[in-house]
């Protein structure tokens, strides 16, 4: 009975006419795209939103932007709203990978293709067209490897974890743990959440530095913001960040480059937020009925101190 009612609705609304074989080809400039963003919690996220919004403008796509304010349920509601409104494509930057199945099914029933960006979801592959992500485990692993090399496999580390249970945090932790597992002398002294924020990164670091005086020689932060906070705490404790204590983080936002140029941050692993161009290329293909790969890894790289000066000019975020 449910299918019936969906079908009835679909036939009433020509905007989202669904036929299983292939959609009626359209041009980019004719379509409406609904974009459900996580929120605006970090520089990375804002660069991500901006990239997509600017690209949409450039390509004359009507983009409906919904800020989820970091609440999963808001995002679910926004996507449902897009379905009700009958947009042509839904773009989701999920706050969490788990918890999307019923909503994606709904979109599928309404015949609206879904593109995921910045994070994948934990659901059957046929529920979405494609997913565009960075490899978070790789990022963590890369950071771990770099730190191992830098310290000759001998480090006592404070890990500043992201928000508890956020899967980015979980994956970056996993990757890092994998990498240092090969080196018996690399130890995580403490692993505390800094909530991805500078304030908490600094507060936690201050406290841990006082509690483990002289024990620590490396910091691994799950994002640049926490690392920047930690750097301030290290300085306040009378130590030299980047020398006495190695600092590595992930994201590679502009302030991180500035810190690297000042010699306070040792390295940052890039997690590229500029999904806009690639995203709309993909959407273009989808609305024209072409096949797209299920998974696109947005490549990242590691930036070290030495490269900072050269790279900073070209960093758009």
């Amino acid at each position: 009975s449910r299918e019936e009612s969906d079908a009835a609705r679909a036939s009433q609304k020509p905007a989202s006419e669904a036929d299983a074989a292939g959609r009626k080809p359209k041009k980019l400039s004719e379509i409406v795209v609904g974009f459900s963003q996580t929120g605006a919690e970090s520089s990375w996220r804002i660069a991500h939103s901006k990239s997509i919004q600017e690209e949409a403008e450039k390509r004359h796509v009507q983009l409906l932007f919904a800020d989820g304010q970091n609440v999963h349920n808001n995002q679910v509601n926004a996507v449902n709203g897009f379905i009700t409104k009958g947009v042509d494509v839904i773009v989701i930057a999920p706050q969490e990978s788990v918890g999307w199945k019923p909503t994606l099914k709904e979109a599928k029933r309404a015949g609206i293709p879904v593109v995921l960006t910045s994070r994948g979801v934990d659901a059957e592959e046929d529920l979405y067209e494609t997913v565009m992500v960075a490899d978070f485990v790789w990022e963590g692993r890369r950071a771990g490897e770099w730190l191992a090399k830098q310290t000759n496999g001998n480090a006592r580390i404070i890990e500043l974890v992201g928000t508890p249970a956020a899967d980015v945090a979980v994956m970056r932790k996993t990757g890092f743990a994998e990498a240092i597992a090969k080196h018996p002398d690399m130890k995580i002294i403490a692993s505390q959440s800094g909530d991805f924020t500078r304030t908490k990164g600094k507060a936690v670091m201050e406290t841990l530095l006082a509690a483990h005086k002289g024990e620590i020689n490396a910091v691994y932060a799950h994002n640049d913001d926490m690392a920047l906070g930690a750097i301030q705490a290290i300085q306040a404790a009378g130590l030299k960040p980047g020398q006495d204590i190695q600092v590595i983080s992930i994201d590679a936002v502009k302030p991180a480059f500035e810190a690297m140029m000042e010699g306070k941050l040792n390295a940052t692993v890039e997690c590229n937020p500029l999904h806009g161009p690639l995203l709309f290329d993909t959407i273009d293909k989808i609305v024209r009925g072409e096949k797209v790969p299920k998974r696109t890894i947005v490549p990242g790289q590691i930036f070290e101190r030495e490269q900072a000066a050269a790279a900073i000019g070209s960093r758009p975020y």
Partner: protein, 334 residues
Amino acid sequence: MLRWDRRDLPLMVTAVLLIALYSGVLVCYDAARSLRFLVDLIKGNAAMGLCAVGMTFVILSGGIDLSVGSVVALTTVLVGTLVAGGCHPVVAFCVGLAVSVAFGAMTGHLIHRFSLPPFLVTLAGMFFARGAAFLVSMQPIGIDHPALDWIVDELGFALAIPGLDRTWVPATALLFLIVLVLGVILGRSTSFGRNVLAIGGDRQAALLMGVPLGATTVCLYALCGLCAGLGGVTTALIDSAGKPNIGAGLELEAIASVVIGGTLLTGGAGSVVGTVMGVMITGIVRAVINLDGRLPSPWHHISIGLLLLVFIVMQQVLIRSAPAARGVEYGHHR
């Protein structure tokens, strides 16, 4: 027998404004002109609405419950873990509800037995339940079970109104509506409802009038726990997942809905019907911003604030200028 009473004035005003708001949205956004929009509204706010129904009673009694968001999370992970461990979802739901009711009853017991401020106890409860949720499962767990899929996909009914579209009303929305009706009945037509109002209106007087303070308080918070548990079940259904970190900030949203619906935070006056209107109002305001889709992130916050502000101010101005509001309030104020 319906009778005009000054006590109903805030409710009337809120209803009128809600209708005005909804009509305004209908005029401005054609995407809203469908049954589906309405159902979305109910479905999307079901978890929060369920919590708000329970919260209404607690607030009516002059208390507050900050733990609902965490209890929602606790319930979802319990359900998720149990189902992952091979339990039937329905059994898992029952376990989740039992735990949340027990949790609520415990809160109520502490509050009454040691006459502690509800704010503190439920704040501690909020932290405790959150920690417990993480203890049950550190990571989000997807729930995969045919029975669950059946509930999500098949349980419900198709609603069609001639001239409008046909749409599917899912189990979650149904659950919310049923609890709502039960909540209204509980509030209006049971001695429990009256006792709650009495405690909130004047605790000392209620005691002198023979209201069983202890039993009512425990039941109250147990009820709120139950509603939060149902909110958790709903969330688990909507997400097909159990997540230890979900529901942060839900308590404030629920409290806001209750208060916007005309319930006094100091207790003693208000109704479940008002709360439902409050839930709808906050829901519509959020939905409108998403429907519009042109606002950048900061304006999402600002517009929600502004719209609610305009609403509240109009509500107050109308209530005060209504002719029935003239005259004197004698006697008690608390």
